[in-house]
């Protein structure tokens, strides 16, 4: 069965510094991986996905993620954090057989001015 882990409950970073939000996964077969962001009392917004191809995936709002098959990781990154990036971030993997999406527990990112 697919599973996703986000080992950090909370990540704090200063504005202007690079940020990383970690994600590891466990799947049988090829992984289809996604990152979402959620602002308070809102639905989740899609940031980026990895299906195949280049291991570095670029997405919305300057975010990117690096797929590492040997480490089964898909970390979210941004070169320079903004205060407005403060939100809850979810990593997810798609079950290609069952059509389900399995989400990690979420990581709360706080960007300090």
């Amino acid at each position: 069965a697919q599973s996703v882990a986000q080992p950090e409950d909370q990540v704090n970073v200063a504005e202007g510094n690079p940020l990383t939000v970690k994600c590891t996964y466990s799947v049988s077969g090829n992984p289809y991986l996604f990152w979402y962001v959620q602002y308070p009392n809102r639905g989740l917004q899609f940031l980026l996905k990895y299906i195949t191809g280049d291991n570095l995936v670029k997405g919305s709002y300057g975010f990117e993620a690096e797929f590492n098959k040997s480490q089964t990781s898909f970390h979210l990154k941004k070169p320079s954090a903004l205060v407005s990036d403060s939100a809850l971030y979810f990593c997810a993997v798609r079950d290609i057989i069952g059509q389900n999406f399995v989400f990690g527990p979420g990581t709360r990112l706080s960007v300090l001015p």
Partner: protein
């Protein structure tokens, strides 16, 4: 372009009362549809998903049910609400192909008193 509508946005209901949350998708055909629940602003729990009219898969046994009376309409119901049903309910859709991402509605916050 595709849009997803979910209502009501906020609901306060007494224990034992019925529930109906509705979700509709526009601009696409034969979407996969999903209901998630998010407790305490954290992890997402998949409740139901549907790959077609009348086809509902339940992930968690509970007093909730789902129906898909039309291709782009997904309804979450309960005959008698429990206190534990309180939470943030999110409807989502994805394209029926294997690689599409999830698109979420804005959520419905349910408080059971």
């Amino acid at each position: 372009s595709q849009t997803i509508h979910q209502w009501p946005a906020t609901l306060v209901q007494p224990v034992g009362s019925p529930l109906s949350l509705e979700c509709t998708v526009e601009g696409t055909s034969n979407p996969n549809l999903y209901w998630y629940r998010q407790a305490a602003g954290r992890g997402l729990q998949l409740l139901f998903y549907s790959v077609g009219i009348g086809q509902i898969s339940s992930e968690v046994p509970q007093n909730l049910s789902a129906s898909r009376p039309q291709d782009r309409q997904f309804i979450l119901s309960s005959k008698k609400l429990l206190l534990s049903d309180s939470g943030f309910y999110l409807c989502a859709w994805s394209a029926p192909d294997r690689f599409g991402e999830l698109f979420f509605g804005e959520g419905s916050r349910l408080t059971v008193l």
